[in-house]
């Protein structure tokens, strides 16, 4: 019964919340999408928290996603013991890195008076959920060996069954408590995601790498003015300062400050 609640109802509720609230928040309360960086208030300790945390967790997360996407290939890869050891050690190392990071971040958040001034309840919840998740993950990696392989044969089928709307708990029922707690906590994480600062990961500015340096926004429709001009312009797109690349079009005024 409890299993149904935790591993069928909760996942669907969490995913629905995550999607609906995230989108609604983006559209209606876009202002609240921010990294909420506190580096301005405290910078030195942040380095030892933020950097290991982000690098560690991103790699570990990527591992989970790969395992979910191509479980067969992962199993095949793990067929050679040397490769299995390398994969597992790598995962463990980055998991430990994330653990060091999250612990430093928690310590920093509660010891620095300035940081406490900008700490919300949700920040505390987020830090706790992440701490628990990383501890369970590292524990699993240490005591239930070769997770990269059994993840592919037990957890992945379960997760995929959720995706295909035919939830099937058979494969995860016999898993040890720590692992099941890890899965449960992941859904809790998903459920709080849209209400917390975690949404900043959705607005990572990848497009910066290829956009032009300068950005000019015209109030009216620039194309229309240029279109009316007697002299044809080389580019139809609107114009900017061509520092290295060029040209971004945007015609609507934006609310600013």
């Amino acid at each position: 019964m409890l299993d149904n609640l935790f591993y069928i109802i909760l996942p669907y509720a969490a995913v629905t919340l995550a999607i609906v609230i995230t989108v609604q928040r983006y559209l209606k309360r876009g202002f609240t999408y921010s990294s909420l960086s506190s580096q301005f208030l405290e910078s030195d300790e942040l380095f030892y928290g933020s950097v290991p945390w982000h690098i560690g967790i991103l790699v570990v997360l990527l591992g989970h996603v790969i395992g979910f996407a191509i479980p067969r290939q992962v199993l095949w890869f793990n067929g050679v013991p040397a490769r299995l050891y390398i994969l597992e050690t790598t995962g463990l190392l980055f998991g430990l890195l994330a653990l060091v990071g999250i612990v430093s971040l928690i310590v920093r958040r509660f010891t620095s008076a300035r940081i406490r001034a900008v700490t919300s309840w949700m920040d505390v919840v987020v830090l706790l959920v992440l701490l628990v998740q990383v501890i369970l993950g590292v524990y699993t990696a240490l005591f239930y060996r070769w997770g990269s392989s059994w993840y592919a044969t037990s957890a992945v089928p379960y997760l995929r069954s959720l995706f295909t709307l035919q939830p099937d708990l058979k494969m995860i029922a016999p898993l040890p408590m720590a692992v099941k707690a890890h899965i449960l906590n992941a859904f809790i994480f998903l459920a709080i995601f849209p209400f917390s600062r975690l949404v900043h990961m959705l607005v990572v500015p990848i497009h910066y790498l290829w956009r032009p340096y300068q950005l000019v926004i015209w109030n009216g429709d620039r194309r229309k003015i240029i279109g009316q001009a007697p002299r044809p312009r080389p580019k139809t797109v609107e114009a900017t300062v061509p520092v290295t690349g060029d040209t971004v079009a945007a015609s609507r005024p934006v609310v600013t400050g």
Partner: protein, 497 residues
């Protein structure tokens, strides 16, 4: 030729009395809020001095501005492909302590303290933590050379001086300083725009005002590092960056920005400049000593029929061009060559220009002692208390020529007016002084008038670039843009969870 309009500014430093009225006007209107207490979009610093944030001009520490290194222009903070890796922790991010921790006082203690032998005091309280703090710095800690061994002596611009010059500068009898009011320069080649990974910072096409879209800003803080003038600020409460908006809601209704309007010394001028956007890269890439000239070059003559035609083609209307013809900024910067950009070597092409101060330069010294008993009325600027190298370092990227010209011209005009009003000057000497700087008597008179007797309308020639009108000129459906222009928030600016 891609002609664009820029609302540009001139600050006449000889007239600044360092009263900070401008800073207060700005603070009251825009930054008297949580998270913004420490921000001074307008600040006035004493030079020599380290300014706000402390030693902001030292780019070996703050990594602001552009670098060319002979090749493609690049942000000094590093190439952007590497820079994104710093997103988790920006190694060059200024901290609150580089500015100061904002505080208030526990005023209620003055009333609630029990009766006793001592006067009650109001203790300083941090506005971040709400706890008592020991005030270590403020936005204007080195005002009027206070603490000069710590502050003025560490002014990064003093590098331009020889050790002897430095020593002389701080001789008690020769002490000299002037004020430097600063706001965002609304640069043509802004680093803040170029560094923003979210693309939240932009230049408004019609008037060149640089703004941060509060809804698109995600708090990655790269602009704070990139702006060499340290005029973008991180709001520690909302998690968004903010900057001077040149009071665009006021400009749009034909009023001067609050700091301009309130300026007691009437040092501030504002008007339109036409410039050629195609020449930006060229102008920012020349060697240091040519930067001032290159920037002047790209400013276009609003009387030139060719420029006017190109401007009209670009959607700049007749009335705007008329305003550009009357622009005091055009006169000071291009016609008279009196106003110079601050730290042109940062290569952002700032659009705020300064008339370098003559007053400290004019003071005379005799064997290191201030002397007023000389026969000559004004001693020549070469004998200045404030070495010209210092001013050149501030206003012309180290090239003494533009600064010398600006000072000599002001000097010549003083002689000229002295001759006219008091009549104790040798006309030949005056003629020669004017000829030396290529200034006619008519021009001298004009400069004198705009410097000493300008009315509000002379100082602020705001082109009719107001958004409402611009919109009507551009769009058939006026209501389509209703509610979209102007300062404000569609939602309350509350901190995300």
């Amino acid at each position: 030729m891609d002609v664009r309009l820029q609302i540009a500014m001139v600050f006449h430093l000889d007239k600044c009395i360092g009263c900070h009225t401008c800073s207060i006007a700005c603070k009251n209107v825009w930054t008297d809020r949580k998270g913004a207490e420490y921000m001074w979009w307008n600040n006035v610093e004493t030079k020599p001095g380290t300014g706000y944030p402390t030693a902001w001009e030292d780019q070996s520490k703050y990594k602001g501005g552009w670098e060319t290194n002979g090749g493609e222009p690049q942000l000094k903070m590093g190439r952007r492909s590497l820079r994104v890796l710093n997103i988790f922790h920006n190694p060059d991010m200024p901290r609150m302590d580089d500015y100061y921790e904002p505080w208030t006082y526990k005023y209620e203690d003055l009333f609630n303290a029990p009766e006793g032998a001592d006067q009650p005091t109001a203790r300083p309280i941090s506005m971040v933590t709400n706890k008592p703090i020991d005030i270590k710095a403020g936005p204007n800690w080195d005002d009027d050379l206070s603490g000069s061994p710590v502050y003025a002596a560490n002014d990064p611009n003093l590098e331009a001086l020889t050790p002897e010059q430095r020593e002389e500068l701080f001789d008690i009898e020769r002490l000299v300083f002037f004020y430097l009011p600063r706001i965002c320069n609304h640069c043509l080649n802004a680093c803040c725009v170029a560094a923003c990974p979210s693309g939240a910072i932009y230049k408004r096409g019609e008037d060149g005002i640089v703004l941060i879209n509060q809804e698109r800003c995600r708090g990655w803080r790269m602009c704070v590092t990139a702006c060499p003038y340290k005029k973008t600020f991180y709001n520690w409460s909302t998690g968004k960056s903010e900057k001077c908006i040149l009071c665009f809601p006021r400009l749009e209704t034909g009023q001067a920005p609050a700091c301009f309007h309130s300026c007691v010394g009437r040092i501030r001028y504002l008007g339109g400049l036409l410039y050629d956007a195609d020449r930006i890269v060229e102008a920012m890439s020349v060697p240091d000593d040519q930067l001032v000239d290159a920037q002047r070059e790209m400013i276009l003559d609003p009387f030139d029929p060719e420029v006017r035609a190109a401007a009209l083609r670009n959607g700049i209307d007749e009335r705007t061009l008329e305003a550009c013809e009357r622009s005091p900024v055009y006169k000071y910067v291009k016609e008279w060559k009196l106003a110079l950009p601050l730290h042109a070597e940062f290569r952002t092409l700032p659009m705020l220009f300064y008339v370098p101060p003559l007053l400290p330069v004019m003071a005379k010294t005799d064997a290191g002692v201030y002397d007023s008993s000389n026969e000559e009325l004004f001693s020549p600027i070469e004998k200045a208390r404030l070495p010209m190298e210092y001013l050149a370092r501030l206003f012309s990227a180290g090239n003494i020529d533009p600064v010398r010209l600006a000072l000599k011209k002001q000097y010549a005009i003083r002689l000229f007016k002295r001759m006219e009003t008091v009549g104790d000057m040798d006309p030949l000497v005056v003629k020669q002084a004017l000829a030396e700087v290529g200034c006619s008597e008519a021009e001298a008179e004009q400069i004198y008038r705009l410097t000493s007797l300008p009315t509000v309308d002379d100082r602020y020639v705001i082109p009719p670039m107001h958004r409402e009108e611009a919109m009507q000129m551009l769009n058939d459906d006026v209501l389509a843009d209703k509610g979209e222009a102007g300062f404000g928030f569609r939602e309350a600016p509350v901190r995300g969870a």
